[in-house]
């Protein structure tokens, strides 16, 4: 029967798409869980470092590391973490939009901006925008390693220590829960004093330093910033996967809806054809 051949074809193609979106949904769900676990696993390190930094801050109130000193903002740096791939709803778009607002604010104050991008989407956007991208990494995969970030970050941190940057922002998606991700534009440097203070120490004691307290503090602060950015990368990854999962789920649902609709139309057309045929036969018989 020739009736509804196109509709059948359409249904078939939508079914194929649905299969793909379903599979992507499931893959994203499992990757999301792993990313969440990784987020948990990275927490103790940052926590420990922060404790030690707090202590050092109290033990050496006279030593001001460049990361702590606040300067007039003439040049502002941004580290923007996005996903490499699309098909994750409005995740990157929303993030870039809130970043753009901050960027605009700063450039109205006549500051120059320097951008460091982690992830392909942010890079593509910034490139089209014509922004000054000073360093870039992408394709970190599903298990990003701190190692892959060191170089990119060093460019920004060195610029900060040498006074070429006066502010450094970290832009990433904060993982609230599976259904919602919140774009964050966080001030990374100078370190806000509250970060260093924490709880007051009750009695005074100090470490034995090996080799030297300042060197150790430098090391600690660099690692602390690195761990913050690393955490941002992992959190963004979890966001990406959950956003993709949700996007793919709704895509599968939509495909289902479309298929139902098309099936209804197909059946109607088929029945109409049969009815017409019967009517023709009956009409023919009556004429004889």
């Amino acid at each position: 029967m020739a009736v509804g051949k196109e509709i059948r074809k359409q249904i078939k193609s939508i079914q194929n798409t649905q299969k793909i979106t379903r599979a992507m949904e499931m893959v994203a769900a499992s990757k999301m869980r792993k990313a969440q676990e990784r987020m948990q696993a990275a927490r103790p390190y940052a926590f420990k470092i922060r404790n030690v930094i707090t202590h050092l801050h109290y033990a050496h109130p006279e030593y001001r590391h460049p990361f702590v000193i606040e300067r007039d903002a003439k040049r502002v740096g941004f580290i923007v973490i996005t996903s490499d791939r699309g098909l994750c709803g409005g995740l990157n778009t929303n993030l870039l939009r809130s970043m753009l607002a901050t960027m605009k604010e700063w450039s109205q104050k006549k500051t120059t901006l320097e951008i460091c991008t982690i992830g392909g989407k942010g890079f593509g956007f910034m490139k089209r925008l014509g922004a000054n991208i000073v360093s870039h990494t992408s394709h970190l995969g599903d298990t990003p390693r701190l190692e892959d970030l060191i170089g990119t970050l060093k460019v920004m941190l060195d610029a900060y220590t040498q006074g070429e940057l006066d502010r450094l922002y970290l832009v990433y998606n904060h993982f609230v829960n599976t259904m919602s991700q919140k774009p964050e534009v966080e001030l990374l440097l100078p370190l806000p004093p509250s970060e260093l203070e924490g709880e007051k120490l009750t009695h005074h004691w100090d470490y034995i330093y090996e080799p030297d307290s300042k060197e150790v503090l430098d090391d600690l602060l660099t690692r602390y910033i690195e761990s913050l950015v690393y955490h941002g990368v992992i959190e963004n990854l979890a966001c990406e996967q959950s956003a993709r999962m949700v996007a793919m789920k709704s895509a599968s649902d939509n495909a289902g809806g479309l298929i139902d609709e098309l099936k209804l139309r197909y059946n109607k057309a088929r029945q109409a054809a049969i009815t017409q045929e019967i009517a023709e036969i009956v009409g023919g018989a009556a004429a004889v």
Partner: protein, 140 residues
């Protein structure tokens, strides 16, 4: 009972070990040290090597590529690096990241056109919203 000390070995990526030990050996830049319970507070830089944790029954080995060691009378924390860190190595990585950006950036314009960018993003968001609406309508 012998005295024990709590040991935490963590890296930026995960917690590697947590438990109690009788003695902990760590490779500091100035040489290897052994930390016993009630050691004076110490904060030191480590070089690549192995951290050895001796518990009552066995001795555990952990390779670290540098990092920091924090000692308090009853707690030892090893903040391990997962990557080899040296000044020139870091420098090379930084250079690579910079080149990576430059290479991908050939022929870019100079001024940032915020209006255009905002329009672009607004369009993308409008599209998403339209899809959302469409979806709600088909559900009904």
């Amino acid at each position: 009972m012998t005295m024990t000390i709590h040991v935490d070995i963590v890296s930026a990526e995960k917690e590697i070990y947590s438990g109690t030990a009788e003695i902990v050996f760590a490779p500091l830049v100035t040489g290897e040290v052994g930390i016993l319970p009630r050691h004076a507070p110490l904060l030191a830089r480590m070089k690549p090597g192995e951290v050895r944790v001796r518990t009552g029954t066995e001795e555990l080995f952990f390779y670290v590529s540098g990092g920091l060691l924090e000692v308090q009378p009853h707690v030892v924390t090893v903040l391990a690096d997962t990557a080899l860190r040296a000044k020139d190595l870091d420098e090379a990585a930084a250079l690579k990241a910079r080149e990576h950006a430059e290479e991908a950036l050939r022929n870019r314009k100079t001024d940032i056109d915020y209006a255009k960018a905002q329009a672009e993003l607004a369009e993308a968001i409008a599209q998403l919203r339209a899809i959302q609406k469409l979806r709600e309508r088909t559900r009904k």
